[in-house]
């Protein structure tokens, strides 16, 4: 069996460790939030494509979770980067 699943797991684990270190070392900043959201998108898309197995199905089924992930992450970024209403 091809080892692509192991590679996907390794990427997911590495990006999770990266996210944790950003928080643990308290180096989260506006720049790193953008990086974090981008890596979250990559992680989500890897799960959608390789674990859920949607990479090789008709685009109309794959597009729903991909769109969901894109919209949710984009709007989280919008909420984060728009000036706070309390400031």
């Amino acid at each position: 069996m091809k080892k692509y699943l192991e590679l996907v797991w390794a990427i997911l684990a590495t990006l999770t460790l990266f996210a944790f270190l950003l928080g643990y070392l308290k180096i989260i900043s506006t720049f790193f939030v953008a990086v974090l959201l981008f890596t979250t998108f990559i992680k989500g898309q890897l799960v959608i494509d390789y674990f859920m197995g949607l990479k090789n199905v008709s685009w109309k089924y794959r597009i729903v979770p991909t769109l969901w992930l894109s919209i949710v992450i984009t709007l989280i970024a919008v909420a984060y980067y728009l000036p706070s209403s309390s400031s």
């Binding site: 699943l5 797991w9 944790f20 643990y24 989500g44 390789y50 729903v64 949710v72 984060y80 400031s87």
Partner: protein, 199 residues
């Protein structure tokens, strides 16, 4: 010359009904995520201060656990879907081992999350403490219930593999349960950085 052609399947794996459920769940959690993100804008200081009470390490370990469990589940699915007519018993036996590991991950997630809830509730924190904890408890408790249900589904599939219940060409059940489990993983992948890390 070999050709590398990816054959597109018409439908996603498992019963089609599970995909309707998955899409509805994604929308529900998506709205909660956005509710959290936009509520945070109204009082960033409160959210940042409250977030300090969370244990990032347990959030990190739980993320690793869920990602790893998803890996175990897809290995179980691949064991079954790649079987031949001659290797049915062997494929079921292999899948059952992967599923047992995945169920173990689900139980471990449950223990860690319960310890986190025990700590938070022990501090006298509840849904009405503030907006951050309202979202935190709602999101993580709702997700926790999905993990418990997912673990139960994996257990039912595990029992079927022990009975050599999946045969050549008849494995929709394991794909259905696996799809649900991966959705639970996908939701936590967004939840972890949003609630535990971003500040």
């Amino acid at each position: 010359m070999s050709q590398n052609i990816a054959i597109k399947e018409k439908y996603p794996p498992g019963d089609f009904a599970i995909w309707i459920i998955i899409y509805v769940e994604l929308i529900t959690f998506g709205l909660l995520f956005l509710g959290y993100a936009f509520s945070r804008r109204a009082d960033v200081a409160l959210f940042n201060e409250s977030q300090l009470m969370l244990n990032q390490t347990s959030g990190f370990i739980n993320t690793l656990i869920l990602v790893t469990s998803s890996y175990f589940v897809i290995k179980a699915v691949k064991s079954i879907t790649s079987m031949s007519e001659e290797s049915v018993a062997e494929a079921n036996a292999k899948a059952s081992k992967w599923l047992l590991l995945a169920i173990g991950c689900g139980v471990a997630f449950g223990f860690i999350k319960s310890a986190e809830f025990y700590h938070i509730f022990g501090e006298g924190i509840g849904l009405s403490t503030n907006k951050f904890f309202m979202f935190y408890i709602m999101l993580t408790a709702f997700h926790f219930m999905h993990v418990m249900l997912g673990s139960f589904i994996l257990f039912v599939i595990y029992k079927k593999t022990k009975r050599v219940g999946y045969t050549f060409g008849d494995y929709s059940g394991i794909e259905t349960g696996a799809s649900y489990w991966h959705m639970v993983d996908l939701l936590w992948i967004v939840l972890f950085p949003l609630v535990y890390i971003i500040r």
